[in-house]
Symmetry: D2
Subunit: 416 residues, 4 copies
């Protein structure tokens, strides 16, 4: 991994500022709550990403570094058992102190110390840890947007996060097939630059070949499933999915609300607005993606098929970074786009398990990925909330099959 | 009920301002959360007390009144089924909007309209409703202090609500007996002025006579119970109390924390500080009060014994209003005080049930008291957080027997 | 308390055999299960009542007594903390061993030893303990019938417990008023013979006088409440009752089932059969009794009013012991009956609290009553499942306000 | 699939009688309970396997067949949504009727009808359904043994299921390596005879080669993990596994009990007895198997590695059918055995997902496997409770990763 120090400082500042930019439209009150266990308070994200730099870089390596506040180690640890006690997750949303203002001061304190630290001679493992801290913060930036959307979209006032811009209408585009031939393929990361440990273990897989659609499933297509009674017919559903539908009275994607017969959707920009038929459907669980595919008599891609397709057809430039575009909604596909990068995370049919040869790193960073490799499904490709410096063809995201507060969606495949 | 209009306006402003004064030391973040179902977010109290005036006075009676925001009716209804849908109670703490600032604007809007309304000719039932609104707000002011204490005392940083003042030490005073002779007594409210419907139904009771202690049980006395293994011996406890102790791993009063062998207590003033032995014990459940009394081979008073004793020995001037005193902790008894008024709510041995002849009023205000008359116990006397314009000998407070985030305490009695 | 030894042996055998007679119609399978926490497996009752005699009489007092099986002490303890560990209540229904056959052998072993013990010279406290054991067994006989009815009535096959006899039709009788004048009355047990500790503490109460109805509320009268939307109108309900109705989707009394528009009731005799309009309504919770009374603009009796009425108007001979009558359903009132004894337990408006001067006995038998004196309501009068050697005017039964698998019902009162 | 009719009748009777033989040592009481949701009452298994033949063969195909009891369709449906309503799973253990005797009559009724039906000319799909019914019953026979072991092993009396035989001691055998070379392999069933739909979809996989141990992990080896603090060190555990350990206070395998410092194990034969060090460890969850492998710095096999190894090294004759052997405990490996078949189900590292080309069959039998393909892990090889006419190299068993009341165990692998 080669990282030039000069650009690292710029990159450090850019990434750190981006977190502040994301929280800028919020009130102090918006920073505090945790409406469900999976959502964290925005101010916790601001503190936790800072704690990561303090705990894993400044405390062990920066001479004369003074901790900002010893209590923060306890308050902002997420799940690192190696590092000690932590606020139990369901109590995060009741911690009104430290205030947002105090956390901003904490960020300044740590940023200042880290900039100074970056002026020194850095060992390779220190450079790696800083890059890990930045990638970690980029992950939390994406989570921040999910969590903000949950918090505001759960409020009966449906407040806008940012003012809605003029709607960008787009024609419905017919889905075309992309073909992946049968054969042996190499999977996993083997280039220079940053990657997560779960992408390691480059290995061969045998694919029997398939055809995949060159765009995502749209709201309009998903509504057909709904209108056809998709949520009322057990035959489309995995057994646990069917229980989930009934226990939670699921009738449509998350953030969708039926109002006087019309389906509305809550958007970060624009608040509550009518569902746009040609946008990719999003905020759906694996259970829904799988049921939809069965209803269409097709299937989801495996994560290996997806990675091979992306290597062949993906174009990172098609991915519009959320900071540069006008909408946090997924984008209708342009004629020349296959939507492999960005827009929405695509549920694959693959369970999240270690690659052959996988080994978790030693110490606390070893808790980053490996210990979550059970009962979750892999998603690929990034979303409209993912930075384009934080996505690649080998990137493995993962969520439990019932979760859907993230930007998740569907791409279909079929056998040759 | 006779209320002079001129004084009503003053009283209205005094009470309304007191709510703001209570919240003044809080950050916006402190206003939002609901750590357990019984605690409401401070900003919700600010909105709900305002909603009460808007809904029950301005909307039905004030000509040309414009509602501030139609959504607020839904957001700030507490439990009035008559008035329609409401935010389910466990979701209150996830409503980050309206912001504190918006709620303060809502208060101004309603206060302005009400002051104008007070300039008009008011019918008796309107005067009664306004007084009910003020008494209601005073109740919420007390709840606000409980809830703020819960929110801040639940935070690992133990922030002070107000700066701690110099400690007022007081000598331990020996408890003396006050005697109530056997006989028939009249119970309930029969004077001019405001009272709640649950005090109505003046009726006779037969008391067999008893001796009551002339002061509350102190922290020091309660610690003896703890050191004697009180929490580990089932024989002192009601069966449901014993389950509660074990399920919740109760080891001492609420807001008490053991730190390096010493018992500390969280106070609104002063934050975490050592337990003061001569202060009345507080933040205990009925289960604990009852177990303590059994351990002492004494008993709690019935609410009737308490009311008779208060009529005979109580002195409202002994009650120090929280706005005038230096500490929110209960006060050690002065030699001439019997602590019947103020300090802490005294658990009685009486279940909260209607008096003979009780009838709930018609309409929404009828939901104020009557529908809670099951599974709760009566407390009497007011606390250091009760306004002295909001307490009287006949006042019946009530809580479930396991609750203890309020200022609750113990007085003992024995048979003649 | 004077008990002749000769009659005691007869009484002992009669009571003990009655438990076997109650279980005689059951299959071995029926003896095992615990469908909800409040219901115990019939074989557990058979073992527990035996364990009571073994633990409190034979082990401490009978020379050379050999315990049948040391494990049984653990298996058949109900809630006596004094006596040591016990099977947690929710696991009782998973204990398939000891088998019914083994428990019957256990009963024989203990009965033999006790009969021999009865031949000896008995101290007064031993006689008292034996009588307590018999009263305890009679209580469990009543619970056995409730639990058997729950187990069989919860089965989709609705099996009969005993064959249904010819239906005893009875005319609707108009309710008349019985009057209790204002005054001071004495409450509690002060005669010879057996009583429970909770009836002790004879004391005076002041009653303001009332009129009570001379019969119970019937199914037909209760159906009017249902047809009038009683279960859909919050105004009739205590707040916790309204939550209970909605959480549990309550639409009518327990054991009632709607089948093709008609209300059916499950009976121990006869299985599922149409609701008989003139029978007293039963299997209702306190919440329902209280709501019904409010809907009728009347009220329930206090337990003191009930006791005074019973002393004045009650006739134990009106109570038909379950072993002598043809039906376990409550009896329609005959013209000369006021139904104060037997038929159904009458919910009173009194919370279950200790009488003045109450003291729990020392030791394990002290856990019999006192520790349950919170969050429960008093019922009076006995039911069609109560033995007439086990009921009296001062008898205080108690259940949580949401429970209704017992034979419980309604009598109305109003102020003078 | 070719099945001779004559042998089918014999096979039918053999399999059906085996279910009765398994339940023969039970009391009627043992047949009723459901101590946890995953365990079904033995009598329910007896009814459900019979219902399968009645519902899927007799009702649609047998002329003049009379249903035994219409209610049974409702009572004995397990999870077939296609077939209609069913008793919710957690209520199965409260159904005391139909009695064991009635269910045995139900079995006779259906068996008689089926034998007659077998005399007729059978279409291929009918033959297939009968074979599916028999395989289904064999699966339930294995579950019966798990459930019986749960029910009796959960009883404080630890009753023996069958009398314990003389202990078969066996020397500890050193584990040797079996090698699987890198290459492309074919996976799935492609022979004559019965297979489940989830074995279909024969396809190629690329294996990087590995070494696997030629025997299972023993109790002695697992105890080393326990003595080394394996259950107290989060680093060995998946995050959900660590939560599971702490929430459930797991200290060792299921059915293990610590008694006066010694680890005892409950066995179907012999009841509670000391842990035998050289037997394969069993009754462990995937979380435990995975943690053990990590502690040993090895890993579990993928299900593909297992299948390839089994094709190469497995010998069905090493599998001792439970009906023929003396013990239900897993067998210590003999020198010539590699334990791939029988003994214990081996947790693989593979999540249970469909094979390429998998398609669920139409209709109710399509609910057999496919709808469970999420959140479960694959186990391979059969156990000491599996019939040897019910196991093959391609057989895919599956359980949730926290479950362990079945005979499950560990085999280790490592990379070349």
């Amino acid at each position: 991994m080669v990282l030039e120090e000069i650009s690292l400082k710029t990159r450090f500042n850019t990434v750190r500022n981006q977190s502040l930019a994301i929280c800028q439209p919020l009130t102090p009150e918006d920073h505090v709550v945790q409406p469900v266990v999976d959502v964290s308070p925005p101010k916790w994200h601001l503190g936790h990403t800072t704690w990561f730099f303090e705990t894993f870089i400044l405390v062990p390596y920066a001479e004369h570094y003074q901790c900002f506040d010893d209590n923060y180690s306890y308050l902002f640890n997420s799940y690192y058992e190696t590092v000690g006690a932590r606020v139990i997750r369901t109590d995060r949303g009741n911690m009104t102190r430290p205030s947002v203002r105090d956390i901003l001061r904490y960020r300044e304190h740590v940023d200042e110390a880290l900039e100074k630290f970056l002026d020194g001679e850095l060992a390779p493992n220190q450079l790696n840890l800083i890059e890990l801290g930045l990638q970690h913060e980029q992950q939390h930036q994406e989570l921040l947007l999910y969590d903000i959307k949950y918090i505001l979209g759960n409020n009966p006032l449906f407040p806008e996060y940012l003012p809605g811009l003029k709607h960008l209408h787009c024609e419905q585009r017919k889905a075309e097939s992309l073909e992946i031939p049968e054969g042996i393929y190499s999977i996993g990361y083997d280039k220079e630059g940053f990657y997560f440990d779960n992408e390691r273990g480059v290995h061969k897989v045998y694919l029997h070949g398939c055809k995949i659609e060159d765009r995502l499933i749209t709201n309009g297509e998903y509504l057909e499933f709904m209108f056809d009674g998709g949520y009322e017919d057990f035959r489309h559903w995995l057994s646990e999915g069917w229980d989930w539908v009934n226990t939670n009275q699921i009738k449509g994607p998350f953030h969708w609300h039926q109002s006087e017969g019309e389906w509305m959707v809550y958007s970060l920009r624009g608040g509550l607005r009518p569902v746009e038929l040609n946008e990719p459907v999003t905020h759906i669980s694996f259970f829904e993606a799988d049921a939809y595919a069965k209803w269409r008599k097709k299937r989801l891609l495996t994560e290996f098929e997806w990675e091979v397709a992306c290597n062949q057809f993906g174009n990172i430039d098609d991915h519009s970074n959320f900071s540069e575009r006008e909408s946090f909604a997924p984008n209708p596909a342009l004629p020349n786009q296959n939507q492999l990068f960005g827009d929405v995370w695509e549920w694959t049919s693959s369970a999240y398990r270690p690659y052959p040869f996988y080994e978790a790193p030693e110490g606390a960073v070893g808790e980053y990925n490996g210990k979550f490799m059970v009962n979750q499904m892999v998603l690929r490709g990034g979303s409209c909330a993912t930075s384009n410096t934080h996505i690649r063809a080998t990137y493995r995201n993962f969520f439990h099959p019932h979760l859907r507060w993230m930007f998740s969606g569907i791409r279909l495949a079929s056998d040759l």
